[in-house]
Amino acid sequence: MIAQLTKSERQLALIILLAFTICGLAMAIAGRQDPLGVHGAIVMLAGIAGIFGVIYVYYEPEPDEGRLALYYDDPTKVAIILAMIWAVIGMFIGDWVAWQLVFPNLTFDAGWSSFGRIRPAHTSAVIFGFGGNGLIGTSLYVLQRTSRARLPDQISPWFVLLGYNLFCLLAATGYFMGVTQSKEYAEPEWYADLLLEIVWIVYFVIYMRTLARRKEPHIYVANWYYMAFILVVAILHTVNNLAMPVSFGHAKSYSAFSGVQDAMTQWWYGHNAVAFFLTSGFLGMMYYYLPVRAGRPIYSYRMSIISFWGITFMYMWVGSHHLHYTALPQWVQTLGMTFSLMLLIPSWGSAGNALLTLNGAWHKVRDDATLRFMMVAAVFYGLTTFEGSFMAIRSVNSLSHYTDWTVGHVHAGALGWVAMITFGSIYASVPWLWKRERMYSPALVEWHFWLAVAGLFTYVFAMWNSGIIQGLMWRTYNSSGTLSYSFIETVIAMKPYYVARAVGGFFFFAGAVIGLYNIVMTIRTAGQPADERAADRPVAQPTGVPALQPGE
């Protein structure tokens, strides 16, 4: 894979890796006993490992010019494998956290394994590790196919992918050591944020440079969603992470904002991370993989455009619905609530568009678990966006906020929408990328699908029940006007639901493990007939691909 690089690219790779090594060394020296020192050592080791990797193939013959006539899919392949590995790690930690809430002794009396540290490790591993790698991998794939242009060079995609995974590693290891900015979904400290900043700008530049060479003047809608994801995440990340480090030898930093401004900035970031990381990017995935897998064009291209601009205009304003009944001015809360309600239009536009695309191809949904993953994703996208708009109403929020209902809502979105569309897209791309006729075992894809659906429903129903009970118990008064239940009574009432949630989470985790195994076996089982779609030759009407007839 590294041998695919040309001589000058290998030299450039060595220079970049050397820079990483030196930065890591400087961090390690400046940080000393501080967690920054440990992270410096990690960065340095990553740089050295990369240098060895490049030197190992440095004198191999250069790749021929023929490579330029093909798409550059190596980074996508690696991203998909990394996404699945992060999924398994993140879901394992998630289920562990879930069991900790049932059996608090599962911290094993260690600081690093306490709830407050492994919970962000879970969220970062699944959102950034699994989701982010899935997005980077599929976006580079979709970008090249829809532009019909090869990526501009062979170094920058690797810089983005590996730099991003280094960021994820710094984030996860930092939490275990207690490094955090205490901003939800933006926990990593200043030096990791700087790394992500550079990586993200390069990612956007790759997108622009490839689009600049596209064949069709019209940019396919999936690319708009992916671009919104990249651009807005860059803005959000930059603003919310404005901070001053205590010193260059210290991991700790202080935010540029304070008080209610800090809260508003954080939730402007937080909800737009949901909007542009967990929604826009994955909609890009959906608008490419779902029509291709179903063999039908998107039901209404016009609706996809209106939905796109609706999402970009309206999502930006909804963050304040996280701060109902706080010191935030009332009108700002109302603004967030109103925009959340209006957001239902573009959200259901996309969800309806996806389901109407499948209308007439339900036999394919029945027979093809990969397409079924995408169908469930579209359904849960519709459900979760409805629920989210509803929960943003101030009076509903007074019941739901701070309860498990929020956790249930997030997981309906994360498991039902984000993970399902990602698994569907990965199962669709793996045979195309590795030129296999199909996945190693379609039966295991079915197993994964049903485990994921069972886990999803168990999880979400458990949290809906527990959340509403919790919310009602917190606001029940007796005849003398005092609270009927002590806090610990509400905790005890949650226990059965916590058990159910942890079991559901285990199902979902087990499905991901099966998925990883199936993907590894698909890659390792050579000698299968290649999928016609992925064959690198003119497609002279191959037999047996009725799935690709337009307008069927």
Partner: protein, 61 residues
């Protein structure tokens, strides 16, 4: 800049520019002439005659 001024600006200008952008998007999406390019874009990802490789084998300059 006073808080009151900011609020006034956000509530007035904010309302009109968002409405204007919304109208602009709907007009663009439903402009009859655009239909052909939208339809061909929707079909483009499904075209079986398209090979799975870049349309020109030129190196990025």
């Amino acid at each position: 800049m006073e808080h009151e001024t900011t609020v006034w600006f956000a509530k007035s200008f904010g309302l009109f520019y968002l409405i204007a952008m919304s109208i602009g998007v709907v007009v663009y999406a439903y402009w009859p002439k655009n239909k052909t390019s939208f339809d061909s874009a929707a079909q483009s990802i499904l075209d079986p005659s398209v090979e799975d490789k870049p349309y020109e084998a030129k190196r990025w300059q």
